[in-house]
């Protein structure tokens, strides 16, 4: 028995160390200047007094040489508009499917949701070809529309689950009091499904922020942050590994913060069952 509990502690601690090492490497590297990274040995720390200056310099280089400032704002636009918009649009659709008199609700649901069963590669080339010919290629509007559309099926799926849990009597009572369907949506349905809204928002915001493929293919001058980070490399006249890692880390800070705040809704959104 004693041996088994020892084995348990050792297993957990070993994996915890392995899982922590890459993060440690990230921080150790960002503390060094570009030249110290090559002069010092890999695991060595630079002199303590130089650390604040190095950190500042690395992030500054990442933002200036890596041109990360514009993409940061643009990606807020792409991921923010599409996740909030998709949450609203799928709330409207789920409300109609569950509580209004729609013929063939199952068919509507499958039509809107069906795209979610397909990989993004199925949409990529036609969108690229169409956007090139109608002038949406390399525009902020174009990429936002794509993210918006891609976020809706999952939003609808999640919202429909929540919507079916609300007792119909709430809606009937409001109807008897003379509320029309839009009023019922805003006053009753929407407030009662707030946690669905947050789940859709957090999951799709993080997805949109982290997506690489569509930004790479559909934009050139208005690339989102991940497409900018992906092409940073020491061989492109960039100021060395510490600045690259600083930039990569900077690119993930917004989603780390949002995940810390909304991790409950994130997990709830994933585990909800039909």
């Amino acid at each position: 028995m004693k041996f088994r509990s020892l084995l348990k502690h050792v297993t957990v601690v070993i994996f915890a160390i392995i899982w922590f090492i890459p993060i440690a490497i990230l921080f150790i590297t960002v503390l060094k200047s570009g030249s110290q990274f090559y002069e010092l040995s890999f695991w060595a720390l630079p002199p303590l007094t130089e650390i604040p200056k190095n950190i500042f310099q690395n992030f500054k280089t990442a933002i200036t040489a890596g041109e990360l400032l514009r993409p940061l704002f643009d990606t807020f636009l792409y991921a923010g508009v599409s996740s909030l918009g998709a949450a609203l649009v799928s709330a409207l659709a789920a409300y109609a499917l569950v509580h209004l008199d729609i013929r063939y609700p199952q068919a509507w649901f499958l039509t809107i949701f069906g795209g979610n069963l397909l990989p993004f590669q199925m949409f990529l080339l036609p969108i690229y070809i169409a956007f090139s010919s109608i002038g949406l290629y390399n525009t902020r509007l174009g990429l936002t529309i794509v993210y918006f559309g891609l976020c809706i099926p999952f939003g609808l799926f999640l919202y429909r689950n929540y919507a079916s849990q609300i007792p119909v009597s709430f809606f009937d009572a409001a109807k008897i009091d003379g509320a029309n369907s839009l009023q019922i949506f805003w006053r009753i349905f929407f407030p009662m499904t707030k946690s669905a809204f947050l789940s859709v928002f957090v999951i799709q915001f993080i997805w949109g922020w982290n997506n690489l493929l569509f930004g790479m293919v559909l934009t050139e001058d208005v690339r989102p942050i991940m497409a900018m980070v992906a092409k940073m490399s020491p061989t492109r006249g960039f100021a060395g590994t510490p600045a690259i890692l600083a930039g990569s880390f900077l690119a993930s800070i917004p989603t780390i913060v949002i995940f810390i705040i909304l991790h409950r809704q994130f997990i709830e959104g994933l585990t909800i069952t039909r």
Partner: protein, 311 residues
Amino acid sequence: MTHFIKSLKRCLELSSSKFSSYSQYLYLVPAFVLTATIMLTPAVYTIILSFQEWNLLTEPKWVGLSNYIKILTRPTMVRAILNSLTWILGTLVFGAALALLLAQLVDSYKSKIVKGLFTIVFVAPFTFAPTTMSKIWINIFNSEGAINATLEAIGLGAITRSWLSLTQPLIPGLPIPISTVFLILVLCWRILGLNYLLFLITLESIPPYYSEAARLDGANEWQIFWKVKFPLLKPVTLLVIAKTIINSWRMFSIPWVMTQGGPGRATETLAVSMYRESLLLFDTGMGAAIAVFIAISSLFLSMRWLGGFTT
């Protein structure tokens, strides 16, 4: 005048009541229009493209099934399929099964602080974007990276190498390069956290007297896990397995950022091949065929699980 206003009002009421019998469909319009333009129409067009040969400049040519035959016969494509299958296998073991093991071990700690600390360590990588993680891991595997620096420091400088360029076959006879394994570990490092969290939350929701009752009846820890806890973990296990399979089968960002499918095209996954064939080699039909292949095969792989999403 009042008469006119009255009749106008009635007109409006009439039309609005007629309208309202269909107005509930308006709620579906935004969702339907957006998904139809961004997903459904493109999907149909991709299927059509997959039967054509087209470099985006000349006229498209109908070629029947020849793109699909190329997927199953060309050595680069066969290797991409095998690589993607290795991704599934690797992430199921080191991303899903390991997550269950760690969740079960951490769940048995009584102290909330110990539990919380381990959870933070395991979940932290999940909050990093795949692109960010790939940049960190390049710095571990490349020739000046962490592994080689450590090997040199402990006197094993002789076996240092550029780990992501190892194209020797992993299994003799199969064209899967060893470096694929290192790429897979990067994804495992990320998704273990989420899977661990899903398992841990479910384990914590199991009332402790279930296992206590079993223990009183003389069951050992092994039996308690498989006979008491595992049946309750089944739904979340299915979710994790399906998500892991789909995620690996469609993986693009990690291999693209770390090796761009190289050296040569050795570490390409299906999604990287699709990108390369269509947008770098301008074989649009071939790219579309690979997309359809990924779509159909992932429908088969995820038969049991129709919900959820992909990241």
